[in-house]
Amino acid sequence: MNFLPRRPAAFFPALAIAAAFAFGWLPALAESPEEKGLRIALEAEARDRGFGNYTADQTMVLRNKRGQESERHLRISVLENEADGDKSLIVFNRPRDVKGTAMLTHSHKVEDDDQWLYLPALKRVKRISSSNKAGSFMGSEFAYEDMTSQEIEKYTYRWLRDEPCGEMTCWVSERAPVGKNSGYTRQVSWVDQDEYRIWKVEYYDRKKMHLKTLTVPSHQQYLDKHWRADEMMMVNHLTGKSTRLIWQNYAFGADLDDSDFTKVSLKRAR
């Protein structure tokens, strides 16, 4: 009965059922699943709007089928940019041989993102060719597109159902990429109805097979507003490999502006 979301209790159940039957034949009057899916995504984005910028430390723990583990340490800075897309800077700290390498991303709402990498050993900035966001990020089970904020415009949405998740209720929606460079045909996400946090995402590959699952065990709220994941667990069901991405030391409202997210600034990123 999604067409009566605001005041379901105001109706007698019988009336509600009658209404459901009556309006059920007139979908134009109701919010379509596509509209609802988009509305949830828009609302989630709107709630996070205004964070300005933040920095955080990331630790990735890669695990192969034999149980061997390997770590990657990164530091990420993100600058909100409502006009086009957010800007982000990732500085690699470990493995040691890539320490100081920095990746700058200017994401765009519609076109492909721009990306540059600064190689300290070469003391040069290299542009990374576009269309690469679906590949494995540093050998992990995360693709770059799984890790960063994703612009609404790059997907189409569809609400599927409501489902209890823990003590809350989640909207289960799917989204499909618009561009052809994604490795996925669709992603199904679980977003709680209280705070619009993502708890789980299932990734379906090009043959529509359930390839990976992302789970988020816990979130923290910053500045009384912005929810951020403490940890993300990505499991590849096909290969048996997994990657744990741990987020630490979130800091909002640092002294960052556009000049910190340019090709020139890459070289001094540390």
């Binding site: 390997s70 050993a121 269309s131 690469n132 540093m138 050998g139």
Partner: protein
């Protein structure tokens, strides 16, 4: 013979009991067989090409470790070549490249696929100012100009990672290689994938009819293993039944007798296969010969029982007396031969290959159940049904009288002549080369084999040596010294005989270094600094599209890289030699931590025979010792028992020698032949020697007359059972699957040679050595 008075009466009581309870026996037999048959519905058929390897097989363990570190290596390779053989542009035409691009796209859509590599999606990298561009080699197949095609051809034929792997060196064949991660032990997944591949290829054939398509790869191999199993199951069974029917009708000349025999072998096969179903055994190409072998070796029991009954009736006994007499005479020898045959097959449990355990156990069970049916069901059945006995053609008896006479008279010549033949044939054993090649497990009736042969001849090889080369610590693969070492190893391997392709990590590094220096060919070398190499690699990895990452070549800790060496048309011996040389080279030339050993499916099969023979050696010795001990006890003579070893053991050596002269290559089946045939051929010796000894002991005949007596008594029976056994194993040899084929041929050869040894060598040997009290 061995019957003591007490056991004789016991056997007699058993005989009268069987006839009295004939109806219950009949009913019980049918009930029992029906119950066992119900297990058939639980029979599982596996198409796992790794089923021949036990869980503790060192080559399998090494390979699975490699797969768990990098990625599982299940593949489908679809090769494409223009139909027009005469010159032209080969595969560098818009049509061929479009077909490859479409197949590449379809590859991603195949179930369980994780990676697709092809000429069109090859991650070609180049520099454009400060940009590293990584792009599909053929990004768009629409509007390919002649210049585009020439550029693509130039890049492809000079790309070390493509030539002789995805592009033939002559540019006339190319391929799409799809990698899969298959769910564990999933028969249906293999069928699903291979069926889907077939559809994809059919579609391509329709859209691009000027191209030929060839399909191989480990998933297709698995499918062929499954198909071969089904083929053998559905064709060998009916053939063997027809053969048995014809041979029995001819030998026994009795409808009732023939039907009784046929029922016994069917019951025995059903009992064993039903048991396999109930107990959850898995049928595979390696043990699907079980019903055929059971039906073959189970015949002898009933033949002995029925022919003795008919012999008795012909000599004037009534049916009841003839049956009782037959049971009395046959109980012990049939029991004895059952035990020896069962021991021979049970020794297959010493093999390293799990399918052979099941095969041995099933045949042993079948033989034992055939023994029970032959002594209970057969007498009850022929007692109830009419049994007509026709007067015997006396020719055969006369023949074996004359034959015995011949052997006695020419004993010296035969003894030395046979000894010479034995030594001459056995001398061929060193010519036998252990050679298992899983693509050659299938004969040319299988499309898989024909396609694979084409691919070997025109594109690439199917022998792959995999090395996981440790760099000695996290991130250490970026150490220029390590890269240089791997490069030396790769270069060394490229110079080895029959090696046509080596994929190694340094090639990526060299190409990147060149790209980072504005594509200057002078920089096609290993970067000078560790950090620089690491950062190049990071940049490259960040540039690769979905599913095209390096995780199949680099471990997660960047502490080891994988090197894949492809050989063309190598025998298992050459494969072992190549791997040994590589392992040794690594030991001699590389830092200590880098030494590793070759692994992969190829290595597993290269060592399968050797490893199985090692296991079976113990099994064969134990089986021989047990059987000989039984013989000594049964014959109550140590010297004769020991003497019997010669005609029992030598035939296998002779058969292998003959094989060595005629064919040479032998696979994993060879490991079990000696033990299996020992249990079978010993039956002939038991029958011959027991008659010989009876003549010596009871009739006090001298050695020569005892030989004449033995020939007259059992010559015909031995000849016929050997003919049946040989026919049965010849049927097995019609299998299109090498393991079953060679098991059939080798066993048939051994059985025939064993009869020759029993007829031409054993008697002269007895006459020569057994000169005691005459």
């Amino acid at each position: 013979m061995t019957d003591t008075a007490i056991s004789a009466t016991r056997v007699e009581r058993f005989g009268t009991g069987v006839l009295r309870w004939r109806w219950p026996i009949l009913a019980l037999t049918i009930l029992f067989v029906t119950a066992m048959a119900a297990g058939g519905q639980y029979l599982k058929i596996s198409n796992d090409s790794r089923i021949f390897f036990s869980e503790d097989n060192p080559q399998l363990i090494a390979f699975e470790a490699l797969e768990a570190t990098y990625t599982e290596a299940n593949t489908v390779l679809i090769a494409v070549a223009p139909k027009d053989e005469s010159g032209g542009a080969g595969i560098f035409t818009p049509d061929a490249l479009t077909a490859v691009a479409e197949l590449t796209e379809q590859g991603w859509l195949l179930p369980y696929s994780t990676r697709v590599d092809s000429l069109t999606n090859f991650s070609h990298s180049w520099a454009d100012g400060d940009e590293l561009i990584v792009e599909d080699l053929v990004a768009d197949t629409a509007d390919l100009s002649a210049a585009d095609l020439a550029r693509i051809e130039d890049i492809a034929l000079n790309e070390i990672q493509l030539v002789n792997r995805l592009v033939g060196a002559d540019g006339r064949t190319t391929a799409v290689l799809v990698n899969f991660v298959m769910p564990d032990d999933d028969v249906e997944a293999v069928e699903e994938v291979s069926d889907q591949v077939k559809k994809v290829v059919e579609k391509a054939r329709e859209n691009h009819p000027d191209l030929n398509y060839y399909v191989t790869g480990s998933v297709i191999t698995s499918r062929a293993f499954g198909d071969a199993t089904m083929d053998d199951l559905s064709t060998l069974g009916p053939i063997i039944i027809v053969v048995i029917f014809i041979v029995m009708a001819f030998l026994l000349r009795s409808i009732t007798g023939t039907i009784a025999t046929l029922l016994v072998v069917l019951f025995a096969a059903i009992t064993a296969m039903g048991f396999a179903g109930w107990s959850g055994m898995v049928l595979s190409s390696g043990n699907v010969g079980a019903p055929t072998i059971i039906m073959t070796v189970a015949i002898a029991h009933s033949v002995h029982v029925i022919s003795t009954v008919m012999l008795g009736m012909r000599s004037g006994l009534d049916k009841r007396e003839a049956i009782l007499e037959s049971l009395r005479v046959n109980f012990h020898p049939v029991f004895l031969t059952t035990i020896t045959t069962a021991i021979g097959f049970l020794s297959m449990n010493f093999s390293d290959a799990p399918p052979f355990h099941n095969l041995g156990n099933l045949v042993a069970l079948g033989v034992v159940s055939a023994f029970v049916f032959a002594l209970t069901f057969v007498p009850a059945f022929i007692y109830i049904l009419p049994l007509r006995v026709r007067p015997r053609v006396e020719g055969q008896k006369a023949f074996f009288d004359a034959f015995g006479e011949f052997v006695v008279r020419r004993r010296a010549l035969l003894l030395w002549g046979m000894a010479a033949i034995m030594i001459g044939l056995a001398a061929g054993v060193p010519q036998v080369e252990l050679n298992d090649n899983w693509t050659k497990y299938f004969d040319e009736r299988y499309e898989f084999r024909r396609d694979t042969d084409y691919i070997i001849n025109n594109l690439t090889g199917v022998e792959a040596f995999e090395f996981s080369l440790p760099a000695g610590g996290e991130g250490a693969i970026n150490d220029p010294e390590y890269i240089a070492n791997v490069d030396r190893f790769a270069e060394w391997y490229r110079g080895q005989p029959k090696i046509i392709h080596v994929s190694a990590f340094p090639d990526i590094m060299k190409r990147l270094n060149k790209n980072m220096h504005g594509d200057d060919p002078a920089y096609y070398r290993i970067p000078d600094e560790h950090d620089l190499a690491a950062q190049y690699l990071l940049l490259y990895e960040l540039s690769l599209p979905f599913g095209r990452d390096l995780n199949d070549q680099i471990d997660i800790a960047k502490s080891a890289t994988r090197m894949t060496v492809i050989g063309r048309d190598m025998s298992a011996k050459e494969q072992r030699a190549s791997a040994d040389a590589a392992n040794q080279w690594l030991k001699d030339n590389m830092p200590e931590g880098m030494a590793t050993e070759a692994t992969g499916l190829t290595m597993m099969f290269a060592y399968i025979s050797k490893r199985n023979i090692e296991g079976m050696l113990r099994g064969t010795v134990i089986a021989m010792a047990l059987i000989s001990l039984i013989l000594i006890v049964a014959l109550k003579s140590l010297p004769i028992g020991l003497l019997s070893l010669v005609p029992n053991f030598v035939p296998a050596a002779m058969a292998f020698g003959l094989w060595g002269y005629l064919i040479g290559n032998v696979g994993v089946a060879a490991s079990v032949v000696t033990a299996v045939t020992f249990g079978i051929v010993v039956d002939d010796t038991i029958h011959f020697l027991s008659k010989y000894l009876r003549a010596r002991r009871e009739r006090k005949l001298d050695a020569q007359n005892a030989v004449r007596f033995a020939f007259r008594s059992v010559g015909h029976a031995l000849w016929t059972t050997t003919a049946v056994l040989a026919a049965g194993f010849v049927v097995l040899s019609t299998s299109g699957f090498e393991v079953n084929w060679s098991l059939g041929v080798l066993t048939a050869m051994t059985i025939v040679i064993a009869l020759a040894a029993d007829f031409f060598f054993l008697p002269p040997l007895l006459m020569k050595l057994d000169r005691s009290k005459s």
